[in-house]
Symmetry: C2
């Protein structure tokens, strides 16, 4: 008897988050053991609230277009499931699973989402439900443990590298320029910020600061000032998560009283202006880093398809409580294989840039560049209409 | 006797500023009346300081690559020439012109640069020099008078439209979202900000604010709040030049004591958080608007070539003190022709978005969309190597 599968998108979107979904749908359609192909709206919230849509009801052109659609097309969530598997929310999840005879659940996300994946696996084991749960890695931060890299990182890095190259070339065209401080995503892990070190001298940032290292303001000001005096302008790349004492007059506090992440470049600019008297400009790469559908890496896109294929095949062969991981076999030529790892080993862990890949505080090592280079390779050419990229809009036929 | 030509880039770069240069070089090479093809480094500064480079010394591949190189490849300037044509700086310009037997000068720029163009023409007339001076329009702001539109606007609009679409789609994927305030270039004219109204409902900003209209804070807060209560998130597009009273604790002052442009979205976010208590995020599109070489409009690129061809041909036929303008003959099919206008009529004038193209304060009219649509049409596919767009580096052989 065929059973239904449900697919969840979870956490922050990436440029290829919907490519992973595409891969899962296309693979699922090949297997008669899979009946319904459902999407859970807003991640785990859809399983709790019985809010599922029928992805077989979408036409072929829509399915093709989701590959180039930014955001999480099923909706996403940052909702964290409680530790107590006896909580009422879990009963509601089980009700949904039984109501629709769900045999397979795929959770596409990062650290927190793999925690959800882990809890669901334990829940079903405890309740004696045969439903299989497989995680599919996704994060621009590239900070999941064990896997060589994460789906979504290559495209975000490709966007960041190309955009920062354009900024560097643009910034060099005035005789007397500014201090440009470019802020790149990455709270605890600097993988994405580090990516700009792949650019050649002449069009790359002069100094790169990752959250893995202690940020020393006096050294930062000294180093940038000495470069400015020679070149007439300086480009600095910083992770949003670098930690320094902010001037309270410039720190931004959100509606809930928390200091907002993002805004590190603004705060740092204010310090540079006050202490060095140099003209500065902060540039936050912001949402396009994770949303831009144009500068997607072809390698990343193809790996998104492949990881999802592996996930579907693994669930069908009886695996559960696993995440698909990527193992790198060689750099040149670039070769990988896909495998499984216990999701409990990945949930809530975080992989930082190792010190062996750094060279001092403000540069990366060749080993990092060799690691990164294949991940941004190859261009995709999204479909445009009248000068604007096309995107999918789902019918969202409710599963009754 | 063949005479030399000199090409100047002036003011802020655009994504196609080097396409205009490419068009002029390729056209100049067809005419034996033109001897040296020179670039003036940093605009008028190169003419003042006799700082010219030989563009015939660059190889064909470099010349091809300048089409996809961001920034002003000859360097640019915001230097404003003095009103008094007797000033010593003008003597130095004349010395350079005579030293290299310069017959033709092309100034590629916006309002201020056309003022330079105007002054040079008057200078040469006064001193009895036969050197012809022709302006080539360039600005992402699209605010030059008389011409239907400006070279560079279509590509900047294409970047802004596609990037804002991706932001809108991304922003919609959480159940409870934020107020997103997207800041777009445009100090006095809102052409670039207005461009996002081309997007269809569902993936376009809810409210659009141009500097042409008076910004009323209470109306802004009321309108965004009522949309937020219904949709759970709001996207707002503002021009960097909109004027409102800033909270002095958030206003940024540069090293010279001036309030910095840019930062309007940050300042407005602080107001929204304080007065409405809503979570907000500001997104400044920043330098990539004028530098991104990927989302270039093919129409804009081809018009860049064509305007420069017209400029070179006009100078050779004896015209001077003119700027090339674009006349639109029809929208569908889109047809233009190139003509000349007295540069004195264009220098220092500014064309704002007319009220006939607006619908109320926060939306644009169909007539604007019809005007804009052809300008962003067609994709270019820049050359990439190892995942990064290629760019030209000039030899910069000094003209002795």
């Amino acid at each position: 008897m065929a059973k239904a599968m449900v697919y969840l998108q979870s956490g922050g979107p990436t440029a290829v988050i919907n490519c992973s979904l595409y891969g899962a749908i296309q693979e699922a359609k090949k297997h008669p053991e899979i009946g319904g192909i459902y999407g859970s709206l807003n991640g785990i919230e859809g399983l709790i609230n019985d809010d599922l849509i029928d992805l077989r009801a979408e036409d072929d052109d829509t399915i093709e277009l989701i590959k180039q659609t930014p955001g999480a097309i099923l909706g996403t969530t940052r909702f964290k499931m409680p530790a107590d598997l006896g909580a009422d929310l879990y009963r509601k999840v089980c009700d949904t699973v039984k109501a629709h005879d769900i045999g397979f659940i795929f959770v596409n996300g990062g650290n927190d989402s793999m925690d959800t994946c882990d809890k669901l696996s334990k829940l079903f084991a405890q309740r004696g439900l045969p439903t299989k749960v497989i995680g599919i890695p996704k994060t621009v931060d590239n900070d999941l443990a064990i896997t060589d890299h994460c789906i979504g990182y290559g495209s975000a890095a490709k966007y960041v590298i190309n955009t920062v190259k354009a900024i560097c070339v643009d910034a060099a065209c005035y005789k007397k320029g500014k201090v440009f401080i470019v802020e790149i995503m990455g709270r605890n892990a600097g993988w994405l910020t580090a990516s700009v070190d792949l650019l050649p001298i002449g069009c790359r940032p002069d100094l790169i600061y990752l959250p893995e290292n202690v940020f020393v303001m006096d050294n930062f000001l000294r180093d940038l000032n000495s470069i400015y005096q020679v070149k007439g302008h300086v480009i600095i790349a910083i992770s949003e998560g670098i930690v320094f004492e902010r001037d309270t007059s410039t720190a931004r506090v959100d509606a809930f009283g928390h200091i907002q992440l993002g805004g590190a470049a603004d705060a740092l600019s204010a310090v540079v202006e006050r202490r060095l008297g140099l003209p500065t400009r902060s540039v936050e790469l912001s949402l396009p880093q994770r949303a831009d559908p144009i500068l997607v890496s072809k390698v990343d896109q193809e790996e998104a398809f492949a990881c999802s294929q592996k996930a579907v095949q693994s669930a069908l062969s009886g695996e559960t409580a696993k995440m698909v991981i990527i193992k790198r076999l060689s750099d040149k030529p670039y070769k990988v294989e896909y495998a499984l790892e216990d999701v409990s080993k990945i949930a809530n862990a975080e992989k930082e840039v190792p010190s062996s890949m750094m060279r001092g505080i403000t540069r990366l090592d060749d080993s990092f560049r060799e690691y990164l280079r294949p991940l941004i390779d190859g261009e995709v050419h999204p479909r445009f209409k009248d000068g604007v990229f096309e995107s999918a809009v789902l019918k969202k036929a409710k599963v009754e």
